[in-house]
Amino acid sequence: MRERIAGGYDNFVLPFMIGMTFIFIYLFIALIRLFAHIPPKDRIKFFKSLVNPKILYMNCRDILMDCLLHVKIFKRNLLLGYMHASIAFGWFMLIVVGHIEMWLYVPQRNGLLYYPVFFRYFVKQEGDLTLKGAFFFFLMDFFLLMVLSGVGLAMYKRFRSTAMGMRRTTKPCFADRVALACLWSIFPLRLLAESFTAGIAGGSFLTKPMYWLFANFLSDDTHILPTWWAYSTALGLFFLALPFSRYMHIPTEAFLILLRNAGLKVTKPRKGFAEAEIYSCSSCGICIDACPMNIQKKNLPFSSVYFIRFLRRHNTRKINQISDKCLMCGKCVALCPVGIESCGIKRAQRGTLYNSIKHDYSYLAAAHHTPAGAPEILPDNITPAAMMGTATAVAAPATEKVLYFAGCMTHLTTSIIKNLTEIFESSGTEYVFADKDGGVCCGRPLILAGREDAAKEVIAKNTELIRSSGCKKVVLSCPICLKVLREEYNLKGIELVHHTQFINTLLSQGKIKVAKGAGSMVYHNPCELGRGCGIYREPLNVLEQLGELKRAAKEGKESICCGGSLGSLTLSYEDRGKITQGSLAALTVNNPERIVTACPLCLKTFSDKSDRPVVDIAQIVNENICSVR
């Protein structure tokens, strides 16, 4: 194998080089801009992470698994996974192997960007095929075939997306269409170009037969150069369209993995980390099917993928419209193959709108928890002042009692409070009822509405109240409270559990025993409990001991929001009703007698629309307690 074209240059590489130069300059500027918007503290964190071996390992693994092999998509649908992986991994390998060939055969051309891309044009095969040569020829044809098969599947998906497990796909924009046309033509053109030159430069199982085939009816070599021109032009155009198309995710995604592994979070809705997320979106459209709102076709334009597209286009009106409407159920985030935290971006966007709203929570200074009636449950040395949470309050001495924090919404579902307190008594759990007479909101609703500053005051107050109780364990009934207490409160040393977890522990410790008499049921996993707090196993564990647990159409992290979510600001009651019905339909596919949930909001929302009883896990447990202690 040696150089065929003296000087290693031909004019047809120009389109490619223009595209390549453009994209390098573009990415370089974008990178600088992005870093400029990352808070300095985060920037330092990022650079430190690059030398941390543990994170380095994570980065490599994630880039391989997510960017190249698309493992997440594989898990979802094999064909869809293969489609993504074949193009990404195949292309990547073509580049790698191309470079290796160059290094091996024409090391003098090292550093020429275009050379490995158009390698087959510039070289010619001399003498007999060596084993080494045959190996590379084979690899190159193999990966080209792999990519081509992926492209073929992609074309097929355009027409029949359901075959790949997708009911709905994203509507491409103009730049997407241009880039897509280029992308689809790049590899067939490369196949043609390499096939035409296979007589000179050699080839393997794919290109050689193609060469012979064409040689039958193509008399001369005049078609070779135009084909290479076409190939180069397709590549060049693709690079030019790249920043304006969904394919920008190709360079960005890997970078996002680095940022994410460094522990960075969204601070601004459009700049910095968020920008990396925005450009990492491949517009694959998995979030469209994931979104519970899309039970109604009219809500399709409110899917996360379009939210991100409008963010890229700076369309503020649409951005606000979508971010206000989103339920924040987190399902699109859970299913996103790139792991884009679109809910976080939406929250940040709401912050730009609502964080400046003035509030007056000065009354909180006088707020105090009213422990369950009897004064004897107060430890002797806690002064009323301490309970009042006034300035003189000091952390009370530790107590063995658990603190029960029902939360605002739970006060609308008295069945939860009644059953859970009975379970406390049955199991001999001593507890202090923090908000028996109503308490202070946990702050999560404010955070969800983008009012972080207001939330801070509420959080500070509640932290003080919880700490002043002296309890080392807080049991919560509302997953909304649980999530914010875990994530935003500084309650080090205090264990925070949802009542599903608490009941599970009671059962495993044998403090209560239950009979398997609850009949058949299905479990609805509340958004904030499952996707929000990662609590999936405990409720199922409890319910399995109570009766026949039926499957729902969507479970676990794919559980469908009940429609009552506090996350959405503008979704109408009618539209919420449709979501509730959709969610109920998914829950009742196997016709359970009852629906069990573990969130007061879900309980109340479902109860209004369900054709069968909806109960909280605390109730179904309490009903089936057969012996105590």
């Binding site: 509030h359 609308l412 702050g443």
Partner: protein, 107 residues
Amino acid sequence: MGKFGFALSPSSRINLDTLDNVKFAHLIEIEPDVLKCMACGSCTASCTAGKFVKTSMRSAILALQNGRNEEAISLLKSCLLCGKCTMVCPRAINTRHLIISILKVYQ
């Protein structure tokens, strides 16, 4: 008070003739649910913040309709957005968004 030791007392009357509806029209555009209130008072009765300080969605809507914008703000600025009122409203008013919108439009 001047030399008389008394003065004209300000009218406590609601004067709809002098009402400026521009902001209210804007509010309706953002959150049309404001028109649906039938003043049942469920929101006020269930209010989390209302336990500590007078907080009332119903009174705030009425205050806006009567041109008492300051009063409306003072009735809502204590709101914690917990959403209980949304759950209890018989007219299914999107109270949280309405509250945010009122605070935003009138502040």
